[in-house]
Subunit: 392 residues, 2 copies
């Protein structure tokens, strides 16, 4: 009789990560492997294991049972590793070119072993340095069109979709978004972080009841509308980019939510770049990315829609309705992201790394004003051109 | 060592139902019990077990592994018994007076043992005979206000709510609604059933693309909007009524969906009564029920809302927004129910029992026209009075 050994969670080390890779036959037994931990250690360990002989390398990502934020540490479900591995696998099956391959995952150890993307750079870092990623927005538009359409009711049998809804139930990570994106920045909450010079703008936001009413509606949508499997945290820090290649990583916030949420988060993070770039051609480059993201999303989604066999997708006006709703949601979520990244707990390097204080504060004020306008005016901003007009 | 005996599903009989009740100590061992099967045998067995000594009685409801509809039989998940027992228990905890007590449930046997309500009558049957139920609409309004509010994000911690969403995932029974309420009646589907005299009206519906676009939007809402735990099948056949008592039964279709769905189904089933009643005071009685249902729902929901601790519920206009959205949804779902009960697979006795063919056809045409109008005009029908105006 075989003895079943129960595996329990333990943190990997350089040594045990190498052993694991060998045990799983991810390398030839004879290969000499090197391993380094390359994560930021806040939420996960990230080990890169490479063979000097073959040049082959892999990434082992292990979730830590806590999150470190501003020096504090709070417990955080390891189940996010299961969700991340499953989301990567599912998203890769829908947009193969744009998602890293998963070689192995283990729920007990909370690990995902995947393709090494070290030849690419995190898009946020690259954009901040002025790198040009010609295919970034086309690729993200395609990723969104494919992953959002094919996980929606327009594509899936309802049994399959409802199975995914259960599988990707993600209460703990959703709660982070519910608090940090939709609630805390709009109230005088301890988690907020902003410089003194923004005090007046921030107090105005907190007192802005019509704004808070619209944020309440957007939060309601985030809480209740299970339209498609979202990435859930699609900012430019969750994207590896290169000259001809884009890969979307870190979908541990994945869950069934409103289609516009991923779009809004990505566009807001492009907008931070548009705001801090003063030279016209450099700003222009970002504006084109914004435009392309929506346009490619829309055309990809529409193309798949046209191939759908669902009887209602044949009804004139239905696709337009879905796109129009998703666009308004996108603009609203984008507004929330602009505000929370400026005054909430989790900031962006794009703004915070601006050394000149006067400029930095000005950029932040621009983001706050634009965020507010997008939330309030989302049903009157009817096209991506309307949005671009506000950025010039 | 105790031997664990695995229970497997088997159909209860008169004898085994009595044994089970005794084994569970629901009666004194000495009592003489009688048992009769009182269900319609389409989806469930319903045994009524009574003691001649104490007068005590109970109901054992057992789900059958198939559904019989118009002579055909198709497999149907036994999991619905789990959902029904859980929904009854949860709804009773929120509206104790209006839901029968569950004494015991068993997932393996797919049974729910509950309070016997034989002293009451199914509301549809009673209304068809002209019975007067003074508290029916007030009670249902209260049931809806309490069960919908307290299972929503406005009342629950998000972890609890997301737990319920998973627990009440109900793909198979939702699919029945998706098909029979939102799809089949609007297409030339084999499941439809209507009399020859309605042929022209029905063909007009099938050709009515603006109508089908609005139904698509309502179906989208049913598929994606997890606002609250719905009863899911709240017609007058799911309600036991008496002069001073109302009990809501049969929540096997329970799942997280849009708040307006239960409201719409109940109101539509009242409307069938309003349509077939020609004498003014008798019609008037139903119109008051319609008005009271919404008014009591609205005041109950609002009262609970005012006690909520969620920061956003304090924002002026948010409750009004939620009620306005729910009202428009209610009117739309009501329209779908009016149409599907007239020409779809599952009819209502209210209409079908009208002997005079000319009148019956006229009533059905009225229901189809009203259903269509409600679906198309749901955003312009702004109050329950606007709806009543269409029924006079």
């Amino acid at each position: 009789m075989a003895i079943t050994q129960l595996k329990h969670y333990h943190s990997l080390t350089i040594e045990s990560a190498i052993s694991l890779a060998k045990d799983l036959s991810l390398f030839d037994p004879s290969e000499n492997l090197t391993c380094e931990e390359i994560g930021d250690g806040n939420l996960n360990y990230v080990f890169r294991i490479a063979s000097s002989e073959s040049g082959k390398s892999i990434i082992i990502k292990q979730a830590l049972p806590y999150a470190k934020v501003v020096g504090e540490s709070w417990p955080l479900t390891l189940d996010r590793a299961r969700i991340e591995a499953r989301a990567l696998t599912l998203q890769r099956s829908l947009a193969e070119r744009l998602v890293p391959e998963v070689y192995h995952s283990d729920e007990q150890l909370a690990i995902t072993i995947m393709e090494d993307l070290s030849h690419l750079e995190i898009a946020r870092k690259g954009l901040n340095k002025g790198e040009i990623y010609p295919s970034l927005s086309k690729d993200i538009g395609e990723f969104l069109g494919a992953t959002l359409f094919f996980t929606s009711d327009y594509a899936l049998h309802p049994f399959k979709k409802k199975g995914y809804v259960k599988e990707f139930s993600n209460p703990e990570l959703c709660k982070i978004t519910e608090d940090l994106v939709f609630t805390d920045p709009f109230f005088n909450s301890e988690t907020n972080e902003f410089e003194q010079a923004l005090e007046e703008e921030v107090r105005n936001l907190w007192d802005d009841l019509p704004l808070k009413l619209e944020v309440a509606k957007l939060k309601r949508s985030f809480l209740t509308e299970g339209e498609a499997l979202l990435h859930g945290d699609l900012h430019t820090g969750s994207i590896f980019a290169g000259k001809e290649e884009t890969k979307v990583i870190d979908p541990e916030f994945a869950f069934y939510g409103p289609i516009g949420f991923d779009l809004g988060q990505f566009l807001a993070n492009l907008i931070f770049q548009a705001v801090v770039r003063e030279e016209k051609p450099k700003k222009e480059e970002i504006l084109r990315h914004i435009e392309t993201t929506w346009d490619v999303f829309e055309s990809t989604f529409s193309q798949f829609w046209d191939q759908s066999e669902d009887a209602y997708t044949k009804i004139d006006g239905y696709l337009e309705y879905v796109l129009e709703k998703s666009f308004a949601d996108t603009i609203g979520f984008l507004g929330c992201e602009l505000i929370r990244r400026t005054i909430g707990l989790a900031h962006v390097e794009d703004l915070d790394s601006v050394q000149d204080e006067e400029k930095r504060v000005l950029y932040k004020k621009t983001c706050l004003a634009l965020g507010r306008e997008c939330i309030l005016e989302r049903h009157r901003i009817r096209s991506i051109q309307d949005l671009l007009d506000k950025l010039i």
